[in-house]
């Protein structure tokens, strides 16, 4: 599998470490139900057949965490963006 790293170009998946679901957001630890929310965040995963977004770390490359759009059925990768780029793009507080 080859991942199109926005900095390094297309690279073999051997250069990356994967962490899984990139659609999760770390819950607010101060929330009243933080324990329940963290339980879901740490353990509960959808297992979609099809389009999925995953975190991949380019360990043997630019050391960016990438949000990779991958089809779990075909391994087709439709794109990858750096975590920092998506944070900035989504306008979250900097």
């Amino acid at each position: 599998m080859r991942i199109p790293c926005p900095y390094c170009g297309e690279r073999d998946a051997h250069e990356f470490a994967t962490l899984g679901d990139a659609t999760l957001t770390r819950p607010d630890p101060a929330a009243a139900d933080a324990d329940a929310q963290f339980h879901d965040y740490v353990y509960l995963r959808d297992n979609p057949a099809g389009a999925h977004e995953e975190w991949w770390y380019h360990a043997n490359g630019c050391r960016q965490w990438l949000r990779v759009a991958r089809d779990t059925r075909t391994h087709a990768i439709s794109g990858a963006v750096a975590a920092r780029a998506t944070e900035q793009a989504s306008g979250e507080p900097a």
Binding site: Y7, C8, G9, G61, C62
Partner: protein, 207 residues
């Protein structure tokens, strides 16, 4: 030089020792020449949030080269600036003894600077067969018609992390973490033997 009686170019060389200088493999004009050096001065510059472009520009001005925030090597007579990641630049100099201090002064609060002069061993590879040799360990396209002088990549070769760039038409430079020097040299010798490989081990006797 070692007398390699067997067809194993590494016969008799302990796996935990850097293979000694000498000729390995096929006789005749070597297809690849490898020399290792301790590049005198290396530092890593990591731009702080939002300063990548400014840091690139400052480095370019200071070292008299075109530096952009991308995987490329900007090369001048005494220094090279290599992009290894967004806002990350390896700066190599043959003349700046206090490279870290110089860079801190140059970049101030825009970047973090760390001394890296001893972190890696530089392998200088020359010869027509360099791309063929590296293709035995690399997973990136090093075809000389694609990977041009000034192109750089941080990647993995033979399971060892490297930052490499093409210095000129037939010259390539690879930075390899110091602890991997012996293993990486073994890979080069084993893979370059069919072309004939000359090794000038500039770090021999160290350690």
């Amino acid at each position: 030089m070692a007398d390699h009686s067997s067809h194993d170019p590494l016969a008799g060389i302990p796996f935990d020792r850097v293979p000694p200088s000498g000729r390995y493999g096929a006789a005749g004009e070597p297809g690849v020449t490898v020399s290792t050096t301790d590049t005198p001065f290396i530092a890593l510059v990591v731009a702080r949030n939002g300063f990548a472009a400014s840091v690139a520009a400052r480095l370019g001005r200071a070292f008299g080269v075109e530096v952009a925030d991308r995987a490329g090597a900007a090369i001048s007579a005494a220094s090279t600036v290599v992009g290894t990641g967004p806002g990350r630049f390896l700066v190599l100099s043959t003349i700046e003894p206090d490279l870290e201090g110089t860079l801190r002064a140059l970049l101030g609060a825009e970047a973090a600077v760390s001394e890296q002069s001893d972190a890696s061993v530089a392998f200088n590879l020359t010869g027509e067969k360099v791309p063929d040799l590296l293709a035995k360990g690399a997973l990136i396209d090093l075809d000389p018609r694609v990977f041009l002088p000034g192109h750089a990549a941080t990647t993995v070769i033979a399971h060892i992390g490297v930052t490499l760039w093409r210095v000129h038409e037939s010259g390539w430079r690879l930075l390899v973490a110091r602890s991997f020097e012996a293993s990486f040299t073994r890979f080069l010798v084993a893979s370059g033997a069919e072309f004939g490989l000359a090794l000038e081990n500039g770090t021999a006797g160290r350690g």
